[in-house]
Symmetry: none
């Protein structure tokens, strides 16, 4: 149900499919009933940590708690295949930018802005930490941050917030839809790890 737990469940499913295992095959290896695996992958259950770790172990995955600040860099490594250090630079920039954005959002005056809007902004900013960002994406982030700063120095300027909001939303959509629309320099990894052909 949770937004964060969905991500975990999806990762498990992707990892399983990537290893060419059926739910029953994984069931045999992990000692977890197939029916339960199905429910887990569909987010129908709030599984226990031991179950999650056991499944992850079989799938050669390690469960780790990573500081939000360093999430973009970590994801760059996880998603990165051979490019590696080249993209780490932009990933570091993105880290700083997203962190600053998060700070700016946290500093938004609650008197002139509804709580819902703030939460929505925060959610979007943190959601973007999950993506691997290209240099082109960085520009948009910078613009969004600049707009946010503009509003912070002049709380009457509601247009600035809306612009930042729109920018974050469209960036997210672009990233969520096609893996690399704005990253022509990094065409495609040698292999795929996205198995999102179904809901």
């Amino acid at each position: 149900m949770g937004y964060a737990t969905e991500h975990i469940a999806e990762s498990l499913k992707v990892a399983r499919e990537r290893k060419g295992l059926s739910q029953r095959a994984l069931s045999a290896k992990a000692g977890v009933p197939q029916s339960h695996i199905s429910k887990i992958e569909n987010g129908a259950v709030d599984l226990r940590l031991s179950s999650l770790v056991e499944l992850a172990r079989v799938l050669d995955l390690e469960l780790t708690l990573v500081p939000r600040k360093k999430l973009p860099a970590v994801r760059a490594i996880i998603r990165g295949d051979d490019d590696g250090h080249l993209d780490v630079q932009s990933a570091r920039k993105a880290t700083n930018l997203l962190q600053r954005l998060d700070d700016q959002i946290a500093a938004l005056p609650s008197e002139t802005l509804s709580e819902i809007v703030v939460q929505e902004l925060q959610r979007r900013a943190r959601e973007l930490m999950h993506f691997k960002l290209s240099a082109d994406d960085l520009v948009q982030l910078q613009e969004a941050s600049a707009a946010m700063q503009e509003f912070l120095s002049d709380p009457r300027n509601l247009e600035a917030v809306e612009q930042a909001q729109s920018q974050l939303r469209m960036l997210r959509n672009a990233l969520a839809h096609g893996a690399g629309i704005s990253a022509p320099s990094l065409p495609r990894p040698a292999y795929r790890l996205d198995g999102d052909d179904r809901g």
Copy 2:
């Protein structure tokens, strides 16, 4: 019980202490009973994913599944073996933050707050100026400053002051006790920005 789950529990505990939160403070933020947090940190329970994610969220941590092959690289990032220049920035930020905190304390309304509390806050804030702060410590300062600002805009919100107070106190204790909790291998950067160690 499991070996992998112990690591998670320990990470939660470290992160909580690093943020200067007591189990009860974390309990209030995450909506999880203090007794349960204690059991979780001691590995006495096999907690559910939702509980783990909820606690992690409050602690600015993100639960991620990382391929075992890339675990060393990820851990290197988490440990912060790569940042370096970031610490100069954070040091400057810390200076500004502490100054602002001092200003905020000076601006506290003396009608709704006892003089003793104000002095105590001021003492703590200035005491922190003697320490060399890491980037992670900055977050706490920001939160304390935010809480303080919250109280300034709404003097009825006494909880905000108490939170800031607790945050400053525990941050001081953490700094005075062990120099580096989460980064024992790299306690301090190789360079310092200003050599006035004496004070």
